[in-house]
Symmetry: D3
Subunit: 62 residues, 6 copies
């Protein structure tokens, strides 16, 4: 039942995404005793002009 959504800046390789969803799923399974097939992971990629920290877009960070 755990549904995980991860917002991250775009640009990860397919290999990094594979590892990310596998490792996060394992972490959830081990921590809350859920069966693996109940764990869903959504990756929400953000472009650099769609995420800001302290009021400044990533694209404008020096």
């Amino acid at each position: 039942m755990p549904i995980v959504q991860i917002h991250l800046i775009e640009g990860r390789t397919l290999e990094q995404k594979r590892k990310l969803v596998a490792e996060v799923t394992r972490a959830v399974v081990q921590s809350v005793d859920a069966p693996p097939e109940a764990v869903k992971v959504i990756l929400s990629e953000m472009s650099r002009d769609n995420y800001a920290n302290a009021g400044v877009l990533v694209i404008d960070k020096k």
Copy 2:
């Protein structure tokens, strides 16, 4: 006031999306007695390398 967000794998036709938002809106209106114009629906499409079940990306499913 009900705000509905639906995450689904990309690749639906425009006709399917039209039907989806119309039918979901009708379901909300009938169930919780909200006026149709208060119901907002967001479709969040995910590519096949951005959604995983049981730790495996859709793109890697056999």
Copy 3:
């Protein structure tokens, strides 16, 4: 795979919630040809001091 999240003001009865999740699930199944058991619905209830329209909280609406 469709994951539906519905934000709505708190105060619905259990019977209304039952109808809401059943009807929304049916709407998704019919529109995008997903099996019922793939459809997840999250209800996110908001208290009247946690939702605003036009900059005014529901609790302050006349």
Copy 4:
């Protein structure tokens, strides 16, 4: 710590996004007394076939 997500129709200029994240961050900082660097803003752009009001997609609005 405040994490802000804004869903909006795509098509804003970079200049509008810059202003949006700066002004929203300022509003949060002034209202809840958080330090600017704790405020994160995610912009989630929706295409006109992925958002509906009253059961009708934006792309179909007259």
Copy 5:
């Protein structure tokens, strides 16, 4: 149309919430030229055992 969701630690007063939704709505209206009545704001309060930074829950921060 802009829909704003703000996750923040619980404990703000009603007066702070009033100011927060008013100021954020004003910031959105001024930045992307949306009418005020189109702006929705959802406040999602998190208890101190439901938010973590660097892998540590707020409740465990010293």
Copy 6:
């Protein structure tokens, strides 16, 4: 920068939550090479009358 939101049924102990956020943060750090302090985790607990699978609320599951 990765922001993780986990929806799960309420009822986990504080110890389980501690482990969950620590392990998920570690998984993200190892997979996408982010510094730990950039990883935020939001736990969104759902009561059993606010989550449905296949159109049936958890509270009604036999």
